[in-house]
């Protein structure tokens, strides 16, 4: 571990992984909520065309990729908002047009070699320069700041667009800002996991976080924790195992997801086995229902004919007989 940290390029690689590990799941939360999990993938395709333009014209590929990804993000939102059925096809044309253009342009450039293309498609974290890192850190800070500030608004719009509009919120503006932040995140993660694997780092930590939390706030925190663990952990593993960093990071994220899924399935089964349902009744317990409420651990039981009833999903659990009937 210490010999790894002694290497300059490894320190830079770990820092880049940390930035991507924070930004990608943070933005990904809202993509999952809007059921647009694969949008990051499409933006990555278009960003490749931007990278190619940069390589061909001698510009910084990070900046040209940023322009292409932001343009794609805005176009996606506008096509979506138009609500046309042909929108789906339009998106496909844009995404595959982007990647095809990228491949062709890179092959035409003097620096065009298959290894160059692979570096952008699958990540080349070890080639991250100090200059790159400054740009990436600035971009990641923008994503972090904007997402934390606008989180309640993004949540509201993604949760119920119709209500948000009726309440006078500028829905389109928030959707466009989120699209731009997604594009920025694509560019931040481009070096770390590669354009073809970016979506994975945005989505998989969120899928895992959904299993670990029951509130939105907690799921966002878990997603970032898991994202950082996967990206930094993936870089460490790739150093030890001499594997490509991008693929390793995604495999670590998937392994985490599978382990958490298995553990929560076993946990759920044990809980189901341990709980008893109360008899069905056409009465809903609540603070004003007339039945005495008794605190019981982290919840409230209602005394129903001497039995403790606790709300559980759509039914009531039997929490045993209540001897000393202590009315409120």
């Amino acid at each position: 571990m210490s010999d790894m940290l002694a290497l300059d390029f490894m320190r830079q690689a770990l820092l880049a992984a940390l930035l991507a590990g924070i930004a990608a799941p943070l933005v990904g939360t809202f993509l999952v909520q809007r059921r647009m999990s694969l949008i990051g993938d499409g933006m990555g395709h278009v960003a490749l065309a931007g990278v190619a333009v940069g390589v061909l014209t001698g510009q910084q590929p990070v900046l040209t990729a940023l322009v292409a990804a932001v343009a794609a993000g805005v176009a996606i939102e506008l096509i979506r908002a138009s609500g046309r059925t042909s929108g789906d096809v339009a998106l496909a044309v844009m995404f595959y047009g982007g990647i095809a253009l990228g491949v062709v342009l890179i092959s035409r450039s003097s620096a065009g070699s298959p290894s160059n293309l692979t570096a952008y498609l699958f990540g080349a974290i070890l080639t991250t320069s100090r200059g790159d890192l400054v740009v990436l850190a600035a971009l990641a800070a923008t994503v972090l700041g904007a997402t934390l500030l606008l989180r309640p608004r993004f949540f509201a719009v993604a949760n119920d667009e119709e209500y948000a509009r009726s309440a006078g919120m500028p829905v389109m503006a928030y959707n466009l800002v989120l699209a731009v932040l997604t594009a920025v995140t694509v560019v931040v993660s481009m070096r770390v996991v590669g354009l073809l694997l970016i979506s994975a780092l945005m989505i998989i930590p969120n899928a895992t976080a959904q299993l670990l939390s029951r509130s939105f706030a907690a799921s966002v925190r878990w997603a970032v924790v898991i994202g950082v663990l996967s990206s930094v952990g993936g870089v460490v593993v790739s150093y030890e195992a001499e594997t490509p960093s991008g693929g390793t990071i995604v495999l670590v994220a998937i392994a985490t997801f599978l382990v958490v899924t298995a553990v929560s399935a076993v946990h759920g089964r044990l809980r189901r086995a341990a709980h008893a349902r109360a008899e069905r009744h056409d009465h809903e317990h609540g603070p004003r229902c007339g039945h005495p409420a008794v605190p019981h651990g982290d919840h409230v039981d209602y005394l129903h004919d001497g039995h403790r009833h606790a709300a559980h999903q759509g039914h009531y659990d039997e929490h045993g007989e209540h001897e000393e009937v202590t009315a409120r």
Binding site: N159, D160, S166, N206, S215
Partner: protein
Amino acid sequence: MTPAPSLIELRSASFGYGDRSIVSGVHVTVEPGEVVALLGPNGSGKSTLVKGLLGLADHQGGEVLLLGVPRDRFREHTRIGYVPQRHSLSASVRATVAEIVAVGRLPHRPWWKPASAEDRAVVAESIDAVGLSDRADEEVASLSGGQQRRVLIARALAGRPDLLVMDEPTAGVDTASQHALTDVLARLVAGGTSMLVVTHELDALHDVVTRIVCMDAGHLDFDGTPPEYEAHLALRAHHHGSGHHHDDPGRPGVRRVLGGGPLDPTAQAVAGE
């Protein structure tokens, strides 16, 4: 002080989507303190009317005044609290009752400002008003359909509205939840909340409704008090017998109300208290 303006005033208003007109030439007002039921068969345009009011469907003609202000200049959106018709809350990510209700406070503060202590107090109050304070930190997906409907009512209440606009609040809700829901609505009305409720069944609401407006095929069909509505239905039944044409798919639900209401949802809820 001038007298309080009507909450809603429509003068030959038309609404639709794009170049398709669904509701046309509608005159309706809702005054403070009223609880108006908007009845009509499926496809009669009642949801479009409500969406038009809220700016979710296109306003195609006539005048629409919200709290005395023309719709296109209306900015105090939170004064009209919308409770959309949704069978369940989005389950793509987890969210607690309190998190959903907190959304209702957002229009009250600038985008950069975090929630204040007052915001949190209003959220807790709104959750209490719909009788879900014991489940505020639970995930909404674990609640029943009727309870989720009450979460949406609480979200609208958190905006501190003058008027609640509800789209089919009782549709597809099981009996136990329906009792709790009517109980909540009755309590809100007793507290002075005005309402415009789109529904196709009066049963759950007939104790609180002060006026009934009926729509059919995009037009208003009837506007009056509940007793006038009964008379209207009786007359219509008479005409029906003499061959006068009138489709009335909503009749079975309405008949039960006329029959004195064998389903009296509030009776049981009151007995429980």
